[in-house]
Symmetry: C2
Subunit: 503 residues, 2 copies
């Protein structure tokens, strides 16, 4: 085979320190909020049986295409193709493993309120920003029939986004209810069709609504009617609805009012007569009442009839959390980050395993998508180094002294690296500079004789590059290099780290 090429598998990537330190802070922040509400951690394996994931295609006796599946190496070569233990897969999300856990451990206390963070894998076509491995961070309450838990989920999403640094008005949580969607289908006399059947008119309607963001109201109108040809000439078949049906759905899509209460009033006029619609509006009204009581007003959580969140799966309220603050991308172009949280109520969670309905609700934050947004928004907070100080090594025979200086700083809680590579001081300082380490300590024979260290502030050149006046001004108040008595090393380093360029 010769030497292997050092390469990634398509759709997989490596992440480095600048992104990862930011991501770690994000994850800690999200976890803190989840725990504030009393959610507890759960960890499940990366590998599951394909039938547990619900991704087996019985008619073809193979796993579904969108997952990373492989033959169970424990299975006998003679195992029949319908052996449920024959196929394994990397998990596709964290919801199917949750369902398995709830079905498997009957001793679990209900409500079971867990959070889980972990990688999930999808065998899909990768693209810019689309990877085949990414991290989800879910919270779910299992065994909670009341919509108070849905209202709580909305509050958790708001609290997470604010804890991450998004101010009111920079994010939005949008809520809809699957029962109201069923109500509009019933009002259109499409209530009998099965939305889980991809070929049904109901499914076509939901798909059309789901495209509202991309194609606008006129586009949805075409998709509900005869079909739509896009700019590239591709034709999407229409749902073939009658004009009265289309008009009703259009009215539904623009039913969002200035307040949640107004949206409920408008929706009542449209679907309040249908049993499903009435039930959905009751749920939303109760969510409105609870959110309002806790000060979560319309500027944070709104009701939006156009929110779909996929075709099946959900059974009641559905919600998503968006970053609405505009971000400039690396090329300076305004970018919308859109949805980072998605979730809703799914009372059929464990039905697939046990036949029983267990009411559950929760949401998932896409950590990698959020990281992309935060990387741009918090570019000034990005740091690649963990070390605050680099101790350079001028004279290898003095290694005990260099290690000793580092040890004193570390014991004071200051992250300190001793340069362990090869190269002269100039190269060592360049290393600290490239890694964005704020301070460097330099000492040779003269310094050791006099029990002093030279401490260089490397942020100076970085922070003030370009501005000579500011550079000079700053240099007067904070010279780039200070001679520090060995006994004062810790206090002086601490003082310099707290200085202006460290702000």
């Amino acid at each position: 085979m010769g030497r292997p090429a050092a390469r990634n598998v398509k759709g997989f990537r490596d992440l480095f320190s600048g992104d990862l330190l930011l991501k770690q802070r994000m994850i800690d922040t999200v976890r803190t909020v989840y725990e504030r509400y009393g959610f507890v951690p759960l960890e499940t394996p990366a590998v599951e049986f394909v039938d547990v994931l619900g991704k087996f295609l019985p008619e073809q006796q193979t796993p579904e295409g969108g997952i990373f599946a492989f033959r169970n190496p424990d299975a006998s070569p003679a195992a029949p193709p319908d052996d449920p233990d024959l196929w394994l897969s990397l998990r596709y999300d964290l919801t199917a493993p949750l369902a398995r856990v709830v079905a498997q451990y009957s001793q679990l206390q209900r409500p079971f309120r867990r959070y889980q963070i972990g990688s999930v894998w999808r065998y899909e076509k990768p693209g810019p920003g689309r990877y085949r491995e990414f991290i989800q961070f879910d919270f779910d309450s299992v065994g909670v029939p009341s919509v108070a838990a849905d209202a709580e989920a909305c509050m958790v999403m708001c609290d997470v986004l604010e804890a991450l640094g998004f101010a009111r008005g920079e994010y939005a949580v949008k809520v809809n209810d699957r029962k109201i969607m069923q109500g509009i289908l019933e009002a259109c006399r499409l209530g009998e069709t099965n939305i889980n059947d991809e070929k049904s008119k109901a499914a076509a309607v939901l798909r059309a609504i789901d495209k509202l963001d991309r194609v606008g109201l006129p586009g949805v109108r075409e998709l509900l009617g005869a079909g739509r040809k896009d700019a590239s000439g591709d034709v999407t078949a229409g749902a073939g609805l009658a004009p009265a049906q289309i008009a009703l759905i259009e009215a539904y899509l623009v039913a969002r009012g200035a307040t949640r209460a107004e949206t409920c009033t408008r929706l009542t006029a449209l679907v309040g007569e249908t049993p499903a619609g009435k039930a959905g509006i009751e749920e939303l009204s109760e969510i409105d009442r609870l959110l309002t009581s806790q000060g979560y007003a319309d500027d944070r959580v709104s009701f939006d009839p156009s929110v779909i969140r996929g075709l099946s799966y959900y059974t009641g309220p559905v919600f998503e959390g968006l970053i609405t603050r505009e971000v400039l991308d690396e090329q300076g172009r305004p970018t919308q980050f859109g949805t980072v949280f998605g979730g809703g109520r799914y009372d059929g969670l464990v039905e697939r395993f046990t036949g029983q309905q267990v009411p559950a609700t929760g949401a998932s934050i896409g950590v990698d998508r959020l990281l992309a947004a935060m990387s741009l928004l918090k570019a000034d907070e990005r740091r690649a180094a963990t070390a605050q100080v680099l101790v350079t090594v001028m004279d290898r025979a003095r290694m005990p002294e260099y290690l000793g200086a580092a040890r004193r700083l570390r014991e004071a809680g200051i992250n300190t690296e001793v340069f362990m590579g090869e190269g002269r001081i100039g190269n060592q300082l360049k290393y600290a500079d490239k890694l964005d380490i704020p301070l460097a300590i330099v000492a040779g024979g003269l310094e050791f004789e006099r029990s002093v260290f030279q401490v260089k502030d490397l942020r100076l050149g970085r922070a003030l590059s370009g501005s000579i006046a500011a550079h000079d001004e700053w240099k007067k108040s904070q010279p780039a290099q200070r001679e520090v008595a060995a006994k004062d090393l810790v206090s002086e380093v601490r003082r310099m780290l707290a200085g202006p360029a460290g702000a």
Copy 2:
């Protein structure tokens, strides 16, 4: 297929809150120490090409048996069997991905000092405490020829174990040097044989030494000579060494002195004449000098000639970190946890990819093995709940008041759960009790009328179960239930949480 059974794949497991909260604290502690030394994070995918992992068997044109490999779904069905892109695998460790990264990104600063935490997967026979998915937490310095980096790795291991709560004398770091092992082989005139050839005498010698813990010195003597029959009657073939060779290796195995310096002196007498042995002793002496200069004495880091750390791979100093404190297992039997850290110098890290030698050293902590030890050692610190307070719900119509009380507590930094399930107060209190939530708040119409809450301390029953005298004593000073004015809720809850049962 019917309903799938809710089950784990063999060798995989779920982890719940009690373990996970402890594990999270452990991981945060280890990360803090790694960052204290300036190591920076790296994240690589779970999925790699099999040839990148070095696990392809060219003669059989298949992946090695010990990994979870699967056909690359992107590969053409007509791909030839020697197509290097044909096979993917879950990563086996974090070292092979590190090697790939170093070979792949030429712009990386050297030294490249990274830490990485992540799951690794091995297709091995599972057993008690042996899983096919487990977490490693590595730190490595790449591009560091000096043994100062090896000495630093020993200090990092000590600092991590102390930060985790192990006192001096409860853990040990043991160091050996692959060059000294080569020296003893040379002194036995086995220097020409290749230790990487499993059938060589040299490999048989290292395997025999590696069994010292299990079979003792007499057992090793048999394995070095004619072979050994164990208690079950199984026979292990011997290395077939001559008595003089066996005597030399025995002397080597007992060469450990009371101090590192004494061990070096004894080793010099045994292998100081061989080029490899001499080089190895020089490395250990320098490590001793540096460790001693930083106060890491023999009670923390010792030199131990019996440390092997596998057959190939390492090229210089090797080390392991052990928990020596005796632990009682769940059945009250004394248990040795043994090695939790393993590592060493491996200058051939990226040679497989680039043909170049890049000096590197580092170690890996087995997070799951450590968790097993910590679960027993810190059993009293184990908590399954994140919530410190459960707000019970007596009257659903009052949900805004219950949510409001929880919100005030959360805003004060107190983790608070509102009971979202169904059931009477008695069942809700039982839920808090099962989950180990310290306090519960109860309020009904009477309380709301008078603007008070009842706060119950649920730890009382748990902490004092069995001891009636202590129970009565405690009850006098700290009643199990207090009526608290609504305006004082936060301060009173904080006071109760800080009370004796919370200590």
